[in-house]
């Protein structure tokens, strides 16, 4: 153990009974730098002000109680070291504030029922097997159970909900935690409602296509659940396995996007809209009545862009290929050339000890 050091915790206080606005309060703590921000907060409570409120219990990143934002980044207080937090602190003070995207009740405590648990309830979070259970256990592939273990590892701490950028824009978005929970059933071979679940999540305008692929949830998740990866797997299963083409054009947008990158290497924006509306096809986007209607609806935006000089007819129509675009295509060939669909799962690693930590791809057994 290292020597104890002094740290300053700048904590966001809010007491709903005081009638005062939320404010920052500085506290000095003295602890081994390997100890956690939670240990620091507990020292404040123990020595100085026991009215400071934070949910916490296990101190070991298991119970999921102590989600906060530390120097603006969503995390569990119990598995963020003081020394690490100090490195990202500005002016030497470690800021601790309640999680985002959820209403604050008191100090560092937010109302998870109002947001997180409501969304969990939304995804029908229980197994729906077909008929009577077998006499013994369900016989299912070993890999399938290890595969869903990554989403079972979710401790419902809400840290991803706090960090989610889509939720900031669309509070109705089902969100990373609940969608990861949804994958836990979609990926479970015992569940008999896979297609219904996927159709529901694809057709919901706040469902799987509402994720903007920003990686924030993957970055902050303390349990390596990688919620965004689970959302992407929901999309792949919805489209590749069940051919679900949602009415929100989520499927078309993603397919259009990927095809454009394969062809040009960078995003050809003028092509994206018609392809999105045309279930990935630029042609269909321009001839199918529904797609045309939607395109026309977006016309004023395009015209405004033209007028403001954000779009020029030349740029819109003639999109240059990325120099070395062949290399982009090679990536596509490499990935699409696999017999099985590639999925990343931290619980599944190969035997080869030289592979990078937990990042080896494996067939998901879904194809």
């Amino acid at each position: 153990m290292a020597e104890a050091q002094d740290f300053t915790l700048k904590i966001r206080r809010f007491d709903p009974e005081s009638g005062e606005q939320a404010h920052w309060q500085d506290f000095g703590v003295e602890l081994d730098p390997d100890r956690s921000v939670l240990d620091g907060i507990l020292q404040v409570k123990d020595r100085e002000d026991a009215s400071l409120a934070i949910r916490c219990s296990c101190r070991a990143a298991i119970c999921g109680s102590c989600g906060v934002r530390i120097n603006g980044k969503s995390a569990l207080a119990c598995n963020t070291r003081l020394s690490d937090a100090k490195q990202t602190a500005s002016n030497g003070a470690i800021t601790v504030e309640p999680m985002g995207n959820m209403p604050v009740i008191k100090d560092l405590i937010v109302d998870m029922d109002a947001v997180h648990w409501k969304k969990i309830q939304r995804v029908v979070p229980w197994l729906l097997p077909e008929g009577e259970p077998p006499e013994r256990e369900y016989i299912v592939p070993a890999e399938a159970m290890i595969d869903v273990t990554q989403s079972m590892a979710c401790i419902q701490c809400g840290v991803c909900v706090s960090a989610c950028l889509s939720l900031e824009v669309d509070p109705e978005f089902i969100g990373p935690a609940a969608l990861a929970k949804a994958y836990r059933f979609v990926g479970d071979p015992r569940d008999d409602h896979t297609e219904e679940r996927l159709r529901d999540l694809a057709e919901d305008p706040h469902g799987i296509y509402d994720c903007t692929h920003c990686f924030a949830c993957i970055e902050v998740c303390p349990k390596d659940v990688a919620p965004m990866s689970q959302i992407m797997r929901l999309r792949r299963r919805a489209t590749a396995d069940f051919g679900i083409k949602d009415s929100n054009n989520g499927y078309g947008h993603e397919k259009g996007f990927v095809d454009i990158i394969e062809k040009w290497g960078t995003l050809h924006e003028a092509q994206l809209l018609p392809r999105s509306f045309g279930q990935g096809s630029a042609i269909r986007g321009q001839v199918e009545p529904d797609a045309v209607k939607q395109l026309l609806r977006d016309m004023p935006t395009a015209l405004r862009g033209l007028r403001a000089g954000k779009i020029t007819p030349k740029k819109a129509l003639m999109h240059p290929k990325l120099p070395g675009q062949k290399n982009v295509r090679r990536i596509f060939e490499e990935v699409e050339g696999k017999k099985e669909r590639l999925e990343l799962n931290l619980y599944i690693v190969g035997d080869d000890g030289d592979q990078a930590e937990g990042a080896q791809a494996e067939g998901s057994g879904e194809s």
Binding site: A50, A60, I105, L127, A142, F185, D224, Y347, V349
Partner: protein, 562 residues
């Protein structure tokens, strides 16, 4: 006044299982928890759940291992029930959706665990408790017939004039309101009391609330001296490293590089029962063969990397985040640490305590299936089997019986008690200071090795702390999320737990299971093959001690070697 046929207090595995099973009987069920149910400490059970499901295995073998593990203090009728019902319970969990590990044929896979003569531990990586807890909570979300009171703190149990339990007084943590609940039956399921010790693997919520509340209304507590020290916890923080690591093949070494379990348990080695392994480690450390930080080494590097990733991933994270150790590359330093209370509120195989209408299940109860020492992966089983049985019993019993009308006087009493806490002069010690002294004292004097002198010293400290706790300073006078007030109430619960542990440990003048008395180093079946129970004896008086027989069915006590 909220009223329920069955009111469950505590929403970990035992509580949730009891609530679901009472609801299956058609009872109107309420479940109260001071934390959101998925925050409960059942989460921390990593390794798995035992069941003799394999046709090659037998429940008798599981039961014998449990009896032997208990150092013959476990009640064999209860152990038989638990082990016989284990396979069906496991299958039911599997059917509900628990993602148990599969073998290559797609059937349930199992791992080896300590003190067991066969591999019969079923698991979900090393998050078994979490996986089961979350699946049961899924069922609570599905069946909204169970009314959930999440973040409500129970302060006291209420009895009618005949002594029958008729409800409970609670505080809604979110708004500070006090509420009297009426219930035909109350099932206690608040878990263990590890916070009485420091360090401990237990979460901050494990403050022995129900043990103290039941004790205060006269329910006898049993086997309280039996406190398990887990062999593999991180020094300082006390965090748990699952027994599953040894189940997967990890070895223990002392600082001389010696695989010391050869000396203590030549047959089972690292997979001897927990009391045996913890004592072996403590002996190595005490005799100077530990590392300078008072630890020995757990070497998990012998387990294949692929296997660590799929089966011990949580430990990989704990090592990385809390000890700065990559367990796939180097040994991790560990020591015995407070982990589990075998004792608790004396209850029968349907969870009924000595007080009519009051049940206790899970770690706060003592059936007693664990006796002097609990086997790894038997605690999840205990919570589920007896949670289910108590829920069913209470659910059936509620039919046709009238809803009691608990007296509002009990609510007034509790409100007055809380007002008095707010009215305290701010001159007393801080709650945190008292708690810290309590934890350090218990860990020093009442851990792996004990003697009368040390235990009596500890009891003196606890007696003083009881007085200090009555006037401890509380900073927060607010209503919304007043955690300071709850801490003051919990501290008093913890002191009741500590006192009854110490009194029982002083009383048992022998060494059995987790209780090792250096002044009485042998097991003494002639005098002490019996349970010690304690009851309150009026304010300021030492608890009253009684004995009860150990139920024997088919296994006579034998010498215990591993």
């Amino acid at each position: 006044m909220p009223h329920h046929d069955v009111l469950v207090i505590g929403a970990g595995l035992a509580g949730q299982r009891a609530a679901l099973s009472a609801a299956e009987q058609g009872a109107n069920v309420g479940i109260i928890s001071k934390v959101h149910p998925v925050r409960s400490h059942s989460n921390a059970a990593q390794g798995g759940i035992n069941a003799a499901l394999d046709p090659e295995d037998s429940w008798e073998s599981h039961a014998f291992d449990t009896v032997k593990g208990s150092d013959y203090l476990g009640d064999q009728d209860a152990i038989e029930i638990m082990c016989r019902e284990a396979p069906d319970e496991l299958l039911e969990l599997e059917h509900l959706g628990v993602t148990f590990h599969r073998d290559e044929t797609g059937h349930l896979g199992k791992r080896a665990f300590g003190g067991a003569s066969a591999a019969r531990t079923y698991y979900v990586a090393d998050i078994t408790g979490q996986a089961i807890l979350h699946v049961l909570y899924e069922q609570l979300m599905k069946h909204d017939v169970v009314h959930r009171y999440e973040e409500w703190f129970t302060t006291a149990l209420v009895q009618d004039e005949e002594g029958k339990v008729s409800g409970a007084v609670t505080r809604n943590i979110r708004d500070g309101s006090m509420e009297l609940f009426a219930a035909k039956s109350v099932i206690l399921a608040t878990g263990g009391n590890g916070q009485v010790f420091n360090p401990t693997t237990n979460a901050l919520v494990c403050t022995g609330d129900a043990i103290a509340m039941a004790y205060r209304i006269g329910a006898p507590l049993m086997d309280m001296e039996m406190i398990q020290y887990h062999p593999t916890t991180l020094a300082g923080l006390g965090l748990l490293i699952t027994e599953g690591a040894r189940g997967e093949g990890a070895h223990l070494y002392n600082a001389d590089g010696e695989r010391f379990m050869e000396k203590y348990a030549p047959n089972k080695m690292e997979l001897a029962s927990r009391d045996v392994v913890s004592r072996a480690e403590q002996t190595e450390i005490n005799e100077g063969r530990g590392f300078p930080d008072g630890t020995v080494a757990l070497d998990i590097t012998v387990v294949p990397r692929k296997r660590i990733h799929e089966a011990l991933r949580e430990i990989l994270n704990v090592g990385r985040d809390f000890a700065g150790v990559d367990i796939t590359k180097e040994p991790i330093h560990i020591k015995p640490g407070n982990h589990y209370a075998m004792g608790g509120v004396k209850s029968d195989t349907d969870g009924l305590t000595s007080i009519p209408g009051l049940y206790a299940v899970g770690e706060c109860a003592c059936v007693s299936v664990h006796g002097g020492n609990r086997l790894g992966a038997n605690s999840l089983l205990d919570t589920l089997i007896f949670g289910r049985r108590a829920g069913a019993h209470a659910g059936k019993r509620s039919k046709g019986s009238p809803m009691p009308q608990p007296s509002r006087a009990s609510l007034d009493d509790e409100e007055a008690r809380i007002r008095a806490i707010f009215d305290r002069e701010r001159s007393g010690r801080r709650v945190s200071e008292i708690k810290a002294e309590l934890g350090a004292t218990m860990d020093e004097k009442c851990s792996v090795y004990r003697d009368e002198e040390g235990l009596r010293e500890a009891l003196e400290v606890v007696t003083r702390l009881r007085q200090e706790a009555k006037v401890a300073t509380v900073d927060d006078r607010g209503t919304i999320f007043n955690q300071d007030l709850l801490g003051a109430l919990e501290l008093q619960f913890m002191i009741d737990n500590a006192e009854t542990i110490l009194v029982s440990a002083i009383e048992r003048k022998e060494s059995r299971g987790a209780q090792y008395r250096t002044d009485f180093p042998d097991r003494n079946d002639d005098d002490w093959l019996k349970h010690i129970t304690v009851q309150p004896n009026g304010d300021g008086e030492a608890p009253e001690i009684e004995y009860s027989e150990v139920t024997m069915t088919q296994w006579e006590p034998e010498e215990r070697t591993y």
